[in-house]
Structure formats: structure tokens, C-alpha cells
Symmetry: C2
Subunit: 160 residues, 2 copies
Amino acid sequence: MKFPELYVENPKKHENKRVVIERDGKIIKFLDENEDYKGDGKVLYKIIYDDFPNYILMNELLSDILLYYEVGGAKQIIYLKKGTKLLEIMAEGYKVYPIVDFGCRILENHRLAAIQTGKGEIRFVNTPVTGLVIFLEEIPTKSGRENYKFYILPDKEIEV
Amino acid sequence: MKFPELYVENPKKHENKRVVIERDGKIIKFLDENEDYKGDGKVLYKIIYDDFPNYILMNELLSDILLYYEVGGAKQIIYLKKGTKLLEIMAEGYKVYPIVDFGCRILENHRLAAIQTGKGEIRFVNTPVTGLVIFLEEIPTKSGRENYKFYILPDKEIEV
């Protein structure tokens, strides 16, 4: 499994790679390592992919983020603004088998994961909304049970 | 269902909207309607989404294409170069219910569609490869049966 590159605005720590967002996302520029940038666009820095959950609080993104994924000859970019609301869905059980992953568009009631209970029964976790899977987090537990959190961008904004 | 915007190089007919690809995809610029462009990047023009199949022959893209999808506050871009090979999978039956759609990442053996036969039996069409669904075409038939074609970008290039 190859991971996407994750870029965020104002990270605590970051790598050298940068991407610039100009004109509200109409222009996206990946800078070369030592390239000088003097424009007035937003500069996003590459961070470790697994640090994604540090940039979300109470379901809301704390920074602009950009995900970049290059596979099979395609370049795939997803750009989300600070304040965007994501839906977080947990899947927990004796064994958890995620069915969808980063970048997957899901339709209402699609299966996100299969769960095996301690008694060997199989259950499914479904999505209540149509949207896009942004991130999949594996959360360590002391009990030895498995725990995954799906971060989903709903097509329709969540009403609170 | 909202459709992505589809941009291609050298289209037969096109709308006013344009996107420019510079430095092999490192810079992506959506131009304003009357904006002048003098750079040496590739200019891709917006065409009707349903015309996608006109730009593929023998499983190979005839032009560079860019898909742009804006939903739920996210901007999603997929850029594919001329010559990229796509896998085409048919789903045909008395009734066909597509399960995945444009932009969905699929894992090997995932279900693409459910098919109902004339006798009312349900069968599934699965994907033989892990990849990304690029386009879903509904093909009219004279027989009244339903016919869909899935265009899939495999993570690993197809060997012919």
C-alpha cells in the first residue's frame, strides 16, 4: 500500500516539500526543493501522512490540507480548506477488516468495514452519508481489540 | 448526482473553460474565462463529460485528460496522460445496479455492480485489479437489457 503525500498550512514540523495554493485553489503549484517563492499564495508543507489527526479537532480541519497521490500514471489531488467538517466513524471489534480506503467515494449505506466479534460473528459498519474517504486511522488499544476511525467528507455539509 | 468537469487536449469541440498543465503536472492552473495565456504549458479544454469515450481507443487514452470534481467543500483533481492504459469492464443484464462510481478507489475483487438476471437471480461483477474508477458509461441497447462499462485505472500497469 502506497500512501498519499499530505501537505498542511502552518505545520508544527515538516519536510522540505511544498505546494502553493493561489487564487482560492484555481492554481496549484508543487515547488521544487530549493525553489524560491515570492507570490502571495498559501504555502502548504509536506508532513508525515500519519500525522493527519493532529490537524482535526471536533470534526473540523484546523488548517488547509492537500492530499497528493500518484499511482498507475495518474496524479490525484484533493484540496480541503480549514474549517471543513468531516464525519468520523469508528469500527471496533475483535478483528476489523476495512473495506474502503483513502480516496474512495462511498454511497450512503455502503460498507466501510467488516467486523468479527469475539464469538466469530461477522457484522458490518456502514456509512450514513454519501461522500469521500479522506483518511483511515488505526487506533492502538490496550485490550488487543482492533479499532479504526474513518474520516469522511460528506457531499452535503453536516448539520450540527 | 453531480458530474465532474472533464478537460482534454485538442478536443474536436469544446466550451470556454480551460486548464493549463505546466512542468509535467507540477503546476495546474484553471484559467478565467477571458484570461490570456502565453506560457508553454499544455492547454486542456472543457468538454461534455459524456464525451469521455471519444478520447479512448483500444484501452488507451488519445489525449491528456483532467477531471475536476468539487463537492462538499473539497476540490478533487485527477490528471492522466495520453497513452495511459485503462481497463474496461462490462456489466450487462436484465437490470444492472452500479455499486461504484467515478473517483472510487477499488480493491481487487471488490464489487463493481449487481446484476439481476431475467429469472430474478442476483449476480455480481467484480474488479480483477486494484485501481481507480475513472468513468462509468451507460451503453444503450436495443434489447432493453442494461449495459454499463467501467473504465478503471489499475495501480499496476496492464501487461498486454
